[in-house]
């Protein structure tokens, strides 16, 4: 089987882009729901140690979102707007409150691989190679890996 068993996080050699690729035992519709339904999203996103609380969520083209991730009383806020929400593709902006002028443009796509498998591609575009590399050095892969592992378990349990 040619599927990607682990999460691949790749930096473009020349552009300030991070590309994440991850296969799931899920339909495209399930991955779309996992990224747009606020209750489902809050259950899987981010590292195991943080609990996510949705503050605002309007997953429609032209809508916006905000959530807070908390650990031991410390809160980390994130927000953005939904440029486009359609079944095979979500384009949104992303800012961490701790770096308020930093904005990423994120494009998610869901590719049906057949046999109940779907490939998620999540591309983040920022405005400098330095900003991208700082993000790669931040330990973001822990949250990405642990989040997708939680989503795997939710899919296996029939929660999505």
């Amino acid at each position: 089987m040619n599927s990607i068993s682990e999460t691949a996080i790749e930096a473009d050699p020349k552009l300030p882009i991070i590309q994440i690729t991850r296969d799931f035992t899920a339909t495209p519709e399930q991955l779309f729901r996992a990224h747009t339904d606020p209750e489902l999203f809050a259950r899987w996103v981010g590292p195991d140690a943080l609990a996510t609380r949705i503050v605002h969520w309007d997953a429609r083209t032209g809508g916006s979102w905000r959530y807070v991730a908390a650990q031991d009383g410390t809160e980390y806020g994130f927000h953005g707007c939904f440029h486009e929400v359609r079944p095979d593709r979500i384009v949104q902006t992303f800012t961490f409150d701790g770096e308020p002028d930093g904005v990423a443009l994120e494009t998610l796509s869901f590719e049906d691989l057949g046999d109940g498998r779907t490939r998620l591609r999540a591309r983040s575009l920022v405005d400098s190679l330095e900003g991208r590399d700082a993000w790669l050095r931040s330990g973001m892969e822990v949250g990405v890996d642990q989040g997708y592992a939680k989503l795997d378990r939710m899919l296996a349990d029939g929660a999505v």
Copy 2:
């Protein structure tokens, strides 16, 4: 006087970024209004030959926008969401309906130069150098130049 008398449109040498710089005889507050008030915006944006009609406009952090530019019965639609709207900075997404998967992340800033002058910087980030260069070849500078000339006249007339 060190001000920039014409519009400067520059491509970053390595990144898929177009940077527009233009000075106006205006306060930062006036340039902010010209970019956020839909009636004012529709009067100046784009080339002289096109008439702009606002379809939807909510210039707040987390809001969205859509307008149509028309010439001789042909309409060109544009839309996006407002990631952040604050007095010195607007961050928004931008898509031309004719190329629906192309998305630019635009950052506008208004720098007070004193003496009633303000420098506008408009930076557009896209996801490939090819996409950026296609945009530069599209004749976009005509619309940019003519639009800012209209805004100059509105400012001189006290319309903003």
